[in-house]
């Protein structure tokens, strides 16, 4: 087997050329240089095969071989405000930015009363009107030198969200980025690109939601970069509800400065082949970073989480809790890298990853990967893979609870500690509810009320 699949390189190159034509005079800008460089890199790399260690358990051949159409201009009329409502969180008041097939849809969005100097809008708009401030951040954190998907996504930086918080800014309401994929006659691809710049002492909550409006095939190739400056606090949620035929490859790359705090909660419900790369670089002292995640795979889903926490400087704490529930023929992959660089003394890193297999045909490949070069550090990691606890099953049954219901109760309990770590009640409720729906909700009424 080859190391890379390059069958469709020509397709992406010609897509790139069409994009270039649509750009008019912008082709000489630094952004386009970045795109061009990333495209060259992608052309060189090709899509990875399972011979690539980073993709050992995740075969992306179906993605590599599909002829995805690139939607340069979406049909914004194809999406209604009712479609949007379906993916808002009941009871949660947000600044809402809606994107359709990767492009900002202003008429579906509502951003009101942002504090002075705060920006939350379309990346494309920001690049058109005032690109200079973005240059020091965009493409600077998510490396594409050896990552074909990030390279491809960077080559097609077109739109997404640009969030900017000046020093001391405090955004009370969560900023909700809703990425909807619509329907086309053929499979299509979008490249949502987000940039979050949180200035010193600023504070905000950002929710990314990815959802398919129909059960069709498409490919979301997302990169989100976040720069979290000194003493800033960013709470990040990613709720993934792609269609059951969709491919979703996503990198959330965080770069943190001193005494900052970044908390990520990534929840995966949808998608056929899913790869998430949440990565945090802890490049200053005294900061805190949390990467939590929950995934629920059923049917033939493949859900791969490759997390990276890079302790580059001393006195930082990182926490990681990933839990997966796999039923049917679903497969999970978890790889949790923790680097503790020579300089990063007094690091405290904690990683827990647990998977619950509900069926004999479900499986998971999991690998913690600790690379520690400093000597005065505290690193703990624990990985468990298990079935439902037979003793607990029996205990529930002896109290009159039928087997399937007992199973659902225990599954719900397993997943609920990740959900309970989320600070936003409406998101907790949503996730609990969705978990129940995926586990046959009608039998579990009331469990989330007590």
């Amino acid at each position: 087997m080859a190391l890379a699949i390059k069958d469709n390189n020509q397709l992406y190159i010609s897509n790139f050329e069409s994009l270039e034509k649509s750009l008019n005079g912008e082709a000489k800008s630094w952004v386009h240089q970045l795109r061009q460089d990333a495209l060259n890199k992608f052309d060189e790399l090709g899509f990875p095969t399972t011979r690539n260690e980073e993709w050992k358990y995740t075969n992306v051949t179906p993605i590599a071989q599909e002829n995805f159409k690139h939607v340069l201009k979406p049909d914004l009329n194809a999406v209604t405000s009712n479609d949007v409502k379906r993916f808002e969180y009941p009871g949660l008041d947000t600044h809402l930015l809606v994107f359709v097939d990767g492009h900002f849809a202003g008429q579906l969005s509502s951003v009101r009363d942002l504090p002075d100097g705060v920006k939350a809008g379309s990346l494309a708009d920001a690049l058109r009107s005032d690109a200079a401030p973005l240059q020091q951040h965009l493409g600077k954190y998510a490396p594409y030198q050896d990552d074909a998907f990030t390279a491809l996504s960077t080559a097609f930086i077109i739109d997404g969200a640009y969030i900017y918080l000046p020093q001391n800014a405090l955004v009370e309401k969560p900023i909700h980025l809703l990425f909807l994929s619509s329907s086309h006659d053929e499979p299509f691809v979008s490249y949502p690109r987000n940039l979050i710049v949180a200035g010193k002492h600023s504070k905000a909550t950002v929710i990314e939601t990815y959802a398919g409006l129909n059960n069709n095939r498409y490919f979301t190739n997302n990169v989100t970069e976040a720069f979290v400056d000194e003493n800033a606090y960013v709470e990040h949620y990613k709720i993934q509800e792609e269609s059951s035929e969709a491919y979703h490859v996503s990198t959330t790359q965080v770069y943190q400065k001193a005494n900052s705090n970044f908390v990520s909660n990534a929840v995966t419900f949808g998608g056929l082949i899913v790869r998430n790369n949440p990565r945090a670089i802890l490049d200053a002292e005294g900061l805190e970073s949390t990467l939590n995640g929950l995934y629920l795979g059923t049917g033939k889903q493949l859900i791969d989480n490759h997390t990276t926490i890079d302790h580059a400087k001393p006195h930082c704490n990182s926490h990681e809790l990933y839990k997966g529930v796999l039923d049917g023929n679903a497969r999970g992959v978890f790889n949790g890298k923790i680097f503790v660089r020579l300089d990063a003394q007094k690091t405290d890193a904690k990683q827990t990853n647990q998977a619950l297999l509900l069926s004999d045909d479900a499986s998971i490949d999991t690998k913690p990967q600790l690379e520690i070069f400093a000597d005065d550090v505290k690193c703990t990691h624990g990985a468990t893979i298990g079935q439902l606890d037979e003793d607990a099953m029996f205990y529930l049954q002896t109290r009159g609870i039928e087997k399937e219901m007992a199973r659902n109760i225990l599954t719900y309990a397993f997943a609920s500690d990740v959900i309970n770590h989320m600070n936003i009640k409406e998101l907790r409720d949503y996730c609990h509810h969705r978990l129940l729906v995926k586990l046959q909700q009608d039998r579990l009424e009331g469990i989330d009320q007590e």
Binding site: D389, F394, Q397, T398, E402, I409, A413
Partner: protein, 259 residues
Amino acid sequence: MLEIKNLHVEVENTKILKGIDLSVKPGEVHAIMGPNGSGKSTLAQAISGRDTYDVTNGEIIYLGKDLLDMEPDERAREGVFMAFQYPVEIPGVTNSYFLKTGLNEIRKHQGLEPLDAMDFLKHIKEKAKLLDINTDMLNRSVNEGFSGGEKKRNEILQMAVLEPKLAILDETDSGLDIDALRIVADGVNRLRTKDRAIIVVTHYQRLLNYIVPDHVHIMLEGKLVKSGDKKLAMELEEKGYDQIKEEYSSVKAKLEETV
């Protein structure tokens, strides 16, 4: 009410119960005593339906029905309850949700309306009060972080809420202080009616001062080797198992001779 005949049970191909006969009538309290490892919990688990316990021979008839044909949850809905010797911790599931779900499943089976959250809370708080159980425990995960005694009391709370027809208490008295013992015994006695039956597994005659049994059985090596009334328990407390073991082995030797 409960007819156990010639019950043989194996765990992982090891014979544990080797022919148990036991007949329990409504209104009766039976005590089963016996040394560690003699098979008391195995009997309790087999009655409850634990599938790791293989019934290789014999039958269990409960209210005229073949219990061995039923899943553990069906047995529970028919009124069989076991207080576990080692209650299970279930992180993430609150005690009150656990109890409410069980109770409503049982009510449904009995053709009763399920209790809503309010009614249930009222119901359970009453029972908790009788058993001197702090209602904070209701909002905690099932048995998680409970002390040994709290776990045992929680078992009795479950029994009080579910109101079974046949209750098997597997060493519910172990690890209880004297006040708790009295409270637990009160809880059991309250349940004692002419159409309910209770089987108490215990090591101590002490409990039987509070819950006075109609019959006492001694289990040895997977068999009920001796039965009597409450005096048998007192005798046992005085003399220990040695004499019974001796008697039993001489009987066994004789039996083997005649074969």
